[in-house]
Point group: C2
Chain length 490, copies 2
Amino acid sequence: MAKELTKRSENYSQWYNDLVVKADLAENSAVRGSMVIKPYGFAIWEKMQSVLDGMFKATGHQNAYFPLFIPKSFFSKEADHVEGFAKECAVVTHYRLKNDEKTGKVVVDPDAKLEEELIVRPTSETIIWDTYSRWVQSYRDLPLLINQWANVVRWEMRTRLFLRTAEFLWQEGHTAHATEQEAIEEAEKMMNVYADFVEGWLAVPVMKGVKSPNERFAGAVETYCIEAMMQDGKALQAGTSHFLGQNFAKAFDVQFLNKENKLEYVWATSWGVSTRLIGALIMSHSDDQGLVLPPKLAPIQVVIVPIYRKPEQLAAITEKADEIIKVLKAKGISVKFDDRDTYKPGYKFAEWEMKGVPVRLAMGPRDLENGTVEVARRDTLEKETLQMTGIAEKIEHLLDKIQDNIFQKALSFREDMTTSADTWEEFVEKIEKGGFVWAHWDGTPETEQKIKEKTKATIRLIPIDKEKEAGKCIFSGEPSEQRVVFARSY
Amino acid sequence: MAKELTKRSENYSQWYNDLVVKADLAENSAVRGSMVIKPYGFAIWEKMQSVLDGMFKATGHQNAYFPLFIPKSFFSKEADHVEGFAKECAVVTHYRLKNDEKTGKVVVDPDAKLEEELIVRPTSETIIWDTYSRWVQSYRDLPLLINQWANVVRWEMRTRLFLRTAEFLWQEGHTAHATEQEAIEEAEKMMNVYADFVEGWLAVPVMKGVKSPNERFAGAVETYCIEAMMQDGKALQAGTSHFLGQNFAKAFDVQFLNKENKLEYVWATSWGVSTRLIGALIMSHSDDQGLVLPPKLAPIQVVIVPIYRKPEQLAAITEKADEIIKVLKAKGISVKFDDRDTYKPGYKFAEWEMKGVPVRLAMGPRDLENGTVEVARRDTLEKETLQMTGIAEKIEHLLDKIQDNIFQKALSFREDMTTSADTWEEFVEKIEKGGFVWAHWDGTPETEQKIKEKTKATIRLIPIDKEKEAGKCIFSGEPSEQRVVFARSY
C-alpha cells in the first residue's frame, strides 16, 4: 500500500476515484459504464441489503421478482414516464448469434429479429403495473406491498463508480392501495425508513422533503426524498419515494371493486435506493488516508495485526489473538486476524486504513508481557494501549463511539455547510462556496430552470415539516410561501 | 380455492403448471419466456439463497457482482464455450429510443447503434475471466473464491415456469487456483455442497457423478452433477460444478507468478444452481391436493385457523393463538394466524393445503374448553387432536418428522424407480417405464447420441464413487468399464 491517494484538497473527484479502486471496492469493467463490484465493496452492499430488507419486512412488505425485459410499447402507456425513462436505455433487438461463414466470426443473426424490441428495465413500474392488473380485482387484494432487489440499466453518458453507472443494483418497492391517503402515508413512511437507515447505519445525516416538479420522478404526483451533503459541498440524493397517484393504474387499467361494489382505480407508490448509497458513504466520512466505514456496515469491524520477528513470538500472539477473536465473535463483532507472512506490519496498517476498518489491534511480544494491546481507531487515527481485561466490552463500546462520532462529525459539517440567502448576490456567492442554501423561490419551474442555468444549483427539496415563512423569491422577487433548499448536486 | 388441480395421473405436466399458478408461486409475464416470481414463490427462493449463501461462506467464498452485459467478442475467445452459449441469447444492439415524429410512437433511434453488440449474460465465465486477468498476478492472489447471485438469460424456445425460462435467477461460483488438483477438489467440494443442500433442505435425494462429454458444460474439462428423480420418472439435473482446466485462463490470458517466480496459467472452476431448484422441489413432493413443502424451506411452517361463529369466540381463540405463536416464534418456527373474516375455514384449509404449509392447527370453542388443538400434517394429510401442553415441542418434533418423512418417501420412490438393464430390449422397456436405468455403455459419444435418438434417454451421470464392473455396452456390445445412469430428463 505504498500508493498514496490524491488529497481531497487537491482534487476531490480524483480522490474519490482513487479511493474506490485502492480500497478494493469496485472497478470499471470491459463494458462501458458497467462496474465490477469487488468482494469488499459487495460485502458493504450485502450488509445494507440485509438491514434494509429487515426494515421493509418489518413494515409489511414482501419480496418478489419481475422480468428484466420490458416490451417497448409499455413505456408509451404513461405519458410522463416515457419522456423520463424510455430514452437512454439498452434495447434488445435480436435473440440469436451465428457464425458468419465467410469471416468465421460470431455475428448477430438477422433472421432472429424480435417483433417488438425489449428494453432492459431502467425501473419497473410498467412491467409491475401490467402484472398488478392481473393481481388486483377486489379491495381484498389490497394493499399490495411488494419490493424487488434487482439490477437496472440506464445508459448514462458520463459514469462514475457507484454514483452513476449504466448498470446498478437497487431495490424498488411498488405498492398498490385502495385510497389516496393510504398511498401518501406509504410514500412518506418509506422516506422515513430510508432516513432512519441512512442516518442510523451509514451515519450520514439527511434532510427530508419533497422535490419540485422539475426534479420529480417521471410519472409521480409527488416525490419524497432524502438529501445528504458530501465533503466537497455538493448534495447527493440518497433515496426517493414516490406517490404515483392513479397514473400507472390508469395506464395499465388496474381497477378494484371496493366494499360498495364499485370499480375504482388503485393508488400507487414506488421507492428505491441503490448502490449509489455506497458512494454517499464513501464521500461522507473518508479522508486522505482512505476509507472510513461506520462500524455498523463495516465488513470487518476489527483487524488484529501481530508484530513479531520470530515464529515462536507469532505462535504466542496467535494464541492470545484467538482468545480476543472468540470473545469479540461472541458479541457479534466481525474480526480478522491478519497473519499473512508475505507483508510487513506497516504495509498491513496502511492497507486496513485504506479499507476503513474501524478498529485495529496490534500485538507484539511486549504487549503479551504486559497484558496489553494497542488499539487504533480509524476515524480519529488515535492510538492507545489498553489492558486486555474486559477487552471485548471496551471494543464494543469503542465501535459505538466511532459510529456516533462519524455521524456527529458529518452532522456538524452539514450544519456548517447550511446557510441561507436573502438576495441574489448572496445566493450566488453561497452556492459558489458549496453547501445547502435556504432561499425563497417563487414556485415556478421557469425560475428554477433559470437559477440552474446561472448557478448550476437546483432545488434539492421543499421542506414538509418546517414552519412556513413568507418572503420574496431571490431570483424573481415574486412572493414565496417558504424557503426551499438549493445546492449543486451529484 | 374451489378450483381443483389436474390430477398427476391424468396429466402430470398440466398438474405441474396448474400447481405453480394455484399455489401462488409464479406466473408467466407479458415478456415471452420470462416469469414473474410471486411473493410466496420468492420467499422459498430467499430461504434457499440464505442457506446456500451460508454454505458458500462457510467454505471460504465471497460474493461479488459482475456486469449483466458481455461484449460479443468475449464469446469467441473460448472455442467450445461460444458453440454452447453464444447462440440463443438476448442481444443489445442500441442504447436509445426516440419519438418518431410522423407516428408519434416510440422507436429505436438508428443513430444510437452500438459499435459492438452486447450479450445479456447467459453465464459469466467470459466477463469474469476478463476481470480475473487484472486481479491475478502472483500466487499470493490465489485462490480466488468468488460467487455471484444474479439473473441470466438464455433464449429458450420452449419454456416452463421455474424449469426452463428465458430469464432465471441463480448463483454462479467462479474460482481460480494455482494447481490442477486444488481446482478439481473445489469442483468436487461444491458438488457435495449442492448434494448436502438439496438432500438436507429440499428433502430431495440426489445421485452424484460426472457428465459424459456430450452433456458436459461448454468449455469444461469435467462436469460434476447432482441428479434427482421426479414423480413422473424423469430425471432433473439439480446442480452442476465444472472443472474448467486452464481453458478460460488461456482464453483470457490469466497467468500468475508461482513461488519459483515462473509464469503459469491459472486453473478454474465454475458451479451453479438456479430457481430451477424450486421446480425440483415442487415435482418431488407435491400431490393432487397441491404443494408439499419441506418444513426447512417453507415460508410459513405453521398456520393457525380459528373456527368460530361469534366474535367473542374469535376473541378467545385469538388469545390462545397468540400464546402458541409466541412459543413457536421463540423456537424460530414461522407461523401465520389466518383470521381473515372474508373466508370460511374450509376455504382456508384448502388454500393452505394448496400452498403446502407443513402443519395446520385448527382451534374452535370446544378445543378451548378441552385445552386441545387439532393438528393436521400436510405430507400425510393426517389429523389428530393434541393437548396444548408442550405444544411448541410437539410441533417442533412434528416438523422434523415431516422433513424426514418426505425425504424418505422421495428416496423410496427413487429406489423403486432405479433399475438396471443388460440387454437392449430390457433397456428400451425400462426407459419407457421411466426412472434411472443403470446400463453398460461403450464410452463413445456416437453410441450415446444413437441411444438418445432411439429412446430419448441420455446419460445422466457416470458414477465416481462406485466400484467399476466390466460388461458390454447395451447398444453396441463393445466392452464397457462400468455402468452409467440413463434416464429421460427435464
